[in-house]
């Protein structure tokens, strides 16, 4: 393989690996911007992946699969909202609970329904998302440099991949250019200001968590119905937490979220590429080092050594009207 090809393969893998991160981190952004911390991204994504894989297998339709993924993810999000907003419970505890409920029930239900050791049946072509070839991708593939870039990096991805990348500017636009976004950002910073402006704090926060549920649904569907053809036990493998790390790393800003997710996806792709390879000067880089790097970077950021990650000011605190 020549270097150009290696670069191309790595970048393609980067995109593939960062899509679920982008979707989940944007999901977390909506929730946390409204003042509700969510460490349950992993669980929602996992449950959605299972629901998507299961429904798509049973009904043979990718759309039904996606719908099921979203419905299940939203249901879990509403549990979190009920505990955190209505019951004013501890948001961290609630998130932890949702992760476990998702982790356990995907396996139990999967085994009960499909009896394939926690897998859902292999999805056929109709019931999963297919890579989309953009116009002229094949004809242009032979053009040096730009051709392969267009054919491999820009064309040839799943619909959900394009959706994920489209959600970045859309989220930015929603956040900074719509009434909803203005109120969402406000309620995560100073719910008192929102309340005195005659807007329901509860409603805004529920909406934020709802958006989170929907996007986690997409993230899960991507895992089980696009990049893989079916659900595998525990298939999120910590991606929800990497997404959380990316969200913090991005300081809760949509474009930064994409960049952070691409970075973390790139590190992941690089880890695969470098496995067992001898590099000049440093020698072999342990794959585990690459895997741990996103977390290490996030901790360093949290420690305030590279800029300061300031979460939404009212985050994690239930709103109680002051006397």
């Amino acid at each position: 393989m020549d270097y150009f090809q290696i670069v191309m393969v790595t970048l393609e893998a980067t995109i593939r690996l960062s899509v679920p991160l982008i979707l989940a981190a944007l999901a977390g952004l909506y929730s946390e911007r409204s003042g509700i911390f969510d460490i349950g991204l992993e669980g929602k994504m996992l449950a959605a992946a299972f629901a998507g894989g299961a429904a798509a297998a049973v009904y043979g339709s990718a759309i039904i699969g996606l719908t099921a993924a979203i419905v299940v993810s939203v249901a879990l999000a509403m549990v979190h909202a009920f505990a955190s907003i209505t019951q004013r419970g501890n948001q961290i505890v609630s998130g932890v609970a949702i992760n476990f409920i998702a982790l356990g029930s995907t396996v139990i239900l999967g085994q009960a329904w499909f009896r394939q050791g926690g897998r859902t049946p292999q999805l056929n072509e109709d019931s999963r998302f297919q890579a989309i070839t953009l116009p002229f991708a094949e004809t242009l593939a032979d053009v040096p440099v730009l051709g392969p870039i267009y054919a491999n990096l820009i064309s040839g991805h799943f619909l959900l991949t394009y959706f994920a990348f489209a959600m970045v500017p859309i989220t930015w636009w929603v956040l900074y250019r719509t009434r909803f976004g203005l109120r969402l950002r406000a309620v995560g910073e100073n719910p008192g200001a929102v309340d005195t402006a005659g807007i329901s704090v509860t409603k805004m926060r529920y909406l934020g968590v709802l958006c989170c549920g929907i996007l986690c649904g997409f993230a899960g569907a991507y895992l089980s119905m696009a990049v893989a053809a079916g659900f595998v036990k525990g298939m999120t493998a910590g991606k929800g937490f990497i997404a959380l790390a990316a969200l913090i790393f991005a300081k809760w800003k949509p474009v930064n979220v994409m960049l952070a997710c691409l970075l973390f996806g790139f590190l992941d792709a690089l880890a695969i590429l470098l496995q067992g390879q001898q590099l000049p000067v440093v020698g072999e880089v342990p794959v585990q080092f690459m895997q741990a790097l996103p977390y290490v970077l996030t901790v360093i950021l949290l420690a305030g050594f590279i800029g300061k990650a300031i979460p939404p000011k009212a985050g994690g605190k239930p709103y109680v009207k002051e006397r």
């Binding site: 250019r177 719509t178 203005l182 109120r183 008192g192 200001a193 005195t196 402006a197 005659g198």
Partner: protein, 511 residues
């Protein structure tokens, strides 16, 4: 059309056992600045919160422009043309001015055109009322005075004809306050109605047309400002209360035990709360600090006792310096004989979820008496607590009971017993009888006098003027972070009230 902007009839509101507003009647004429004055806890803020729809009155009617309306929530108030500038600004700190102004009044789901219109409208308001502020400035980067201006703009943007300002000058410098008054006068001249809630007489006299006085949940009087004077208002505000009689002989002050010099303290927002304060307390005397809450007393106490870092100044405890600008350690200060009964016993003086005996040693838990190496000597702790409980008549006499289950008076006795029973050289006390029943008040006052007679130096802070008058040997009055005067306990309430309300000495004669 009525010429009354607001009319309140028989407003009544209780929070549990607290009767915050008692049958309040109030009429505010259109195009006037109407002041509402009263001490802390007189019920001013509650009344205005009812008017703004934050709470519902238990009884009574609200008429806006002559029409009776039910204000269920702030939306109704906003629609009726009522705007409110809160004491603690309701602004989103990392938003721009424009975003804050628009929040909740955005026109459309998409901000595109709304932003353009809002910008134009904001510009128009700025021009019309001379309220300049950069619409793209981020709130947290603006000085407090400008932040307040944004609050006013927010209300005007929503079409407010009636503007309520709750203690607007609390966070302002005198120059900023003067500027605010000019703005308010201009707003009135352009036909707006303004309700100004304050405890500062100077402000009332300076800009209001009419003034209503509240005291202990009641509306006691309404006057035309031109027909009244500060003395009358001060008296109405404080009331002629029966002075609590405390048996007390003459004081016998000796050495200076606590000496504060040039102390300056900022609060968490960076606002100067204590401004170059100097004072001395001698052994065998009680120095009382009078003042309306929020004039720097809390920060003064916290700085002296090592809880809050001071910006500059020196404090000497029995002649030895306390590192108030560095890291003074409350534990070390206790060892050196500084006892502290904090103002906020619920959050600072006690841990409410602890057993009574555990609170009886809070801050003294390092004491050898209670320790056996790293272990607590529970027997010693509990017998100590039981002794104090008996001596201070703490009821119920159950040292294992959770502290939250004691009444306010008994909780306070737990703190007092802890701080008084260790023979301190200096005793610093904040709000000794806040939320305490009458029986316990007498007991607590007696104990404080006993401490004085035993030769302790006592620094007392209270917002209860009669408490200050009946206990103190000397009275210092704090206003806006400074000590504005010293009086003997013989000073009249009116005289002290004037000082507390920020009327400078010498100014009285001029009024």
């Amino acid at each position: 059309m009525s010429d009354l902007a607001i009319e309140l009839r028989g407003i009544d509101k209780s929070f549990g056992p607290v009767h915050a507003n008692k049958n309040i009647n109030l009429s505010v004429s259109k195009g006037t600045i109407h002041g509402i004055i009263g001490e802390n806890g007189a019920g001013k803020s509650t009344l205005m919160s009812i008017l703004y729809g934050f709470y519902q009155a238990d009884e009574g009617k609200i008429l806006v422009n002559g029409e009776e309306i039910t204000i269920r929530d702030p939306n109704v108030a906003i629609a009726a043309g009522i705007g409110m500038v809160h004491q603690h600004f309701m602004l989103v700190d990392n938003f721009t001015v424009l975003e804050n102004v628009m929040l909740g009044a955005e026109e459309n789901a998409i901000l595109n055109r709304g932003i353009v219109n809002a910008r134009a409208e904001l510009k128009r308001l700025e021009d019309e009322y001379a309220l300049e502020v950069d619409p793209d400035a981020v709130i947290e980067e603006l000085p407090v005075g400008l932040q307040q201006r944004v609050e006013i703009l927010k209300a005007l943007y929503r079409g407010a004809e009636i503007l309520i300002l709750d203690e607007p000058t609390g966070v302002l410098t005198p120059a900023e306050a003067d500027h605010l008054f000019r703005i308010l006068e201009q707003l009135r001249d352009q036909g707006k109605t303004i309700i100004l809630i304050t405890h500062k007489l100077r402000e009332i006299m300076a800009i209001t047309d009419e003034v209503s006085v509240m005291r202990r949940g009641e509306m006691v009087a309404t006057r035309k400002t031109s027909e009244t004077n500060v003395e009358e208002l001060a008296e109405l505000m404080v009331g002629r209360r029966v002075l609590l009689r405390v048996e007390k002989g003459p004081s016998n002050p000796s050495d200076v035990k606590l000496s504060v010099d040039g102390l300056t303290v900022r609060d968490n927002r960076g606002v100067v709360m204590v401004d170059d304060v100097s004072l001395e307390v001698r052994a065998g005397e009680i120095v009382g600090i009078a003042g309306v809450a929020g004039n720097g007393q809390s920060e003064l106490l916290q700085a002296i006792t090592g809880i809050r870092q001071a910006e500059k100044g020196t404090v000497l405890l029995a002649g030895q310096p306390i590192d108030v600008t560095g890291d003074a350690d409350p534990q070390d200060l206790r060892k050196r004989g500084l006892a502290h009964v904090p103002e906020d016993r619920h959050h600072m003086g006690l841990v409410l979820s602890f057993e009574e005996n555990e609170n009886a040693i809070l801050g003294y838990h390092y004491d050898e008496e209670y320790l056996n190496g790293p272990m607590l000597k529970l027997d010693a702790v509990r017998s100590h607590a039981a002794q104090s409980a008996e001596k201070y008549d703490i009821r119920p006499p159950d040292v294992r009971l959770k502290t939250a289950n004691f009444s306010g008076g008994n909780q306070q006795k737990i703190v007092l017993a802890r701080e008084m029973e260790r023979d301190p050289a200096v005793l610093v006390i904040g709000q000794p009888t806040r939320g305490v029943d009458v029986g316990a008040i007498e007991f607590i006052h007696k104990r404080i006098i006993e401490m004085r007679d035993a030769g302790k130096a006592v620094l007392l802070v209270s917002v209860e003027l009669d408490e200050i008058r009946s206990l103190s040997d000397r009275i210092l009055v704090m206003f806006a972070g400074r000590v504005v005067g010293e009086r003997t306990p013989e000073a009249t309430e009116g005289e002290l009230g004037l000082l507390m309300a920020g009327v400078e000495e010498g100014q009285e004669a001029a009024q």
